[in-house]
Amino acid sequence: MTIVVVMEQVPDVVEELAIAPSGTDLDRDAVSYVVNEYDDHALEEALLLAEATGDEVVAVGIDTTGELDQALYTALAKGARRAIKLTGDFEGTWLSTRAAARLLVPVIQELEPRLVLTGVQAPDDLDGQLAPTLAALLGWPHASVVIGSQLVDGAVQVRKELWGGMTMTLELELPAVLGVQAARQAPRYVPISRVRQVMREASIETRDVETPGDLAPAIMRLRFPEEAGQAEILTGSASEIADRIIELLRARGLL
């Protein structure tokens, strides 16, 4: 049986980001892309599930950057059996979650997986998270903020993190969609020599897909938050400073 992992590349927020002259997108020439860190966890969780059950993991991604191959080869090197890349006119654009989900649904339906896993969120999913969007379009049950899962007799048992360490354990009938926050264990390391070997021996299936209509969210403008990154220095006597700190905490609902 099949477990699909949806992986996407996102702008690396470690790097300095620049806003394009249009004001409605990042300066894509200055962006470097990385695999969405939560997608790495989704892949790990899928591999752990598959190792327990003998399922086949298929990594699927939409190539919005022209650089998705590396991520898919890495997934293959880690243990995915197949990798499928969707290509189209959207390279270099900001694909909305809804549009991405519409591209993915037919591929997922064709693969007939019993489980779809993807990262709980992405740095650029302005119109919401992929997992619940896919679930709605597929008509399958779902859970997000998943921190562990287990396949049991026709269902998947998932642990969903709430807050303050509370968790909710749910049993979803299959097929189901999971938005993974953290795999049960840290994503495994695969040495580059293995990735390079996979690049020589394995291949990525490519599907050309129709560009969906609604590509970008209706952004008026992007801007940088006001804090410049340097601390505002609080001055005065210890008691004045303490007052100010308490005021700050109150204002943010932290007291």
Partner: protein, 433 residues
Amino acid sequence: MDPKLQKVAEVWERDTAIVEGVDISGPWNRMFGQRVIWDYTPDLIEEIAQLPGGESFAWCYQCGKCVPVCPVDVVGDYGPRKLYRRAQTGINLLDSPDLWLCTTCANCLRVCPKLVDMVQIMPAAREHAMLTGRAIPAELQEALENTAKYGNPLGQPARKREAWVKDAGVPVPILHQIQRPVEWLWWVECYPSYHPRGIDASIALARIFNALGLDFAILGREEKCAGDSQRLAGERGLFEMLAEENIRTLSKYEFQHIVVTDPHALNAFRKHYPKLGGQYDVWHYTTLLARELPKLQPLLTKSLPYRVTFHDPCYLGRHNGEYDAPRQLIQALPGVEFVEMLRCRENSYCCGGGGGGMWLDSFAAGHQRRRLSEERVLEAVSTGADTLVVCCPYEVSRFEDAAKSTGVEGRLRVRDIAELLAEAMGLIGEGAA
């Protein structure tokens, strides 16, 4: 049973046993027999020895010369002889924390009569462990992933690699900007580009190069980690990827020699880049500055009232044979009193950062009485020195942390040779121009 053993077995632990007229009755007679390890197989040794690079693991004949010179054994329980013996008795190196504790300092190889070479065994065994899906320590994994993603183990943006230049206070030409041939390509490396204390030394060195009128430039954001320590940590593929990219970048520019800050880069360029097609004339900066001493000496005008000792970097000394240049530079510093530590030169101790140890700090600390860096700063303090001089970018932060954690922080400063030279030249510190 082997017929040779038959005779012994016959008398073992008998109440009455007389062999060639001598009465050796009793259980203690076992000492006369040869212990045959029929409980164990050589499989675990073979598994390592069959790896390319791992062959010499099997050559160990248990003489034990390596153990007293092993810096890890000083603070723990280590050495090639012990690893061999453990493998013989069923402990799989590939699954043991031992796999990650060797710093590839090469002091064992120096004394080994059989040339058991941990510098080759360790990367081979570690790569094998990775390829067979064994988990690696999380700190190391992060450093390797960072290196693959960003070209440096710190996970810093590639573009920021040249950011320190604006604080140098002197021109630091960057090749992609100047587009002209230079005599010296300065390979700055990661920690000297990103780590605050590494940057201190880079700024000092940049000022010295300027004062000497050296025709140099750096690669800046185009430079990626030379990758030697990643290779030794088991990531040969990552090393090759970095080397290929670096060689490609270097091929775009004209220069005569490379000067490196980092002995690990020196090692990579000298011994491993040539195999991948990168042939360069590479110098460590201490070697270059020692050659320039006639020009440098008159500039060393400020007397430094320090009692200093010097830590030989493993990858400068034992691995690349440079012991004298740093000492010549230290002795050229006016006012400085130089004392050697007991473990110095060929028998120098190790800071613990090599062979991937830089990214296994907490892991290693969990398997040792104290860190290697802590052992070393205590040795430095015992000489009465107030300054520990280093010339490898791993060492400043390692030794400064160690001075803090051993409580000798107020008694021992850690300085890169470049910092002391620049200070004596009046280029940094009080009254710097």
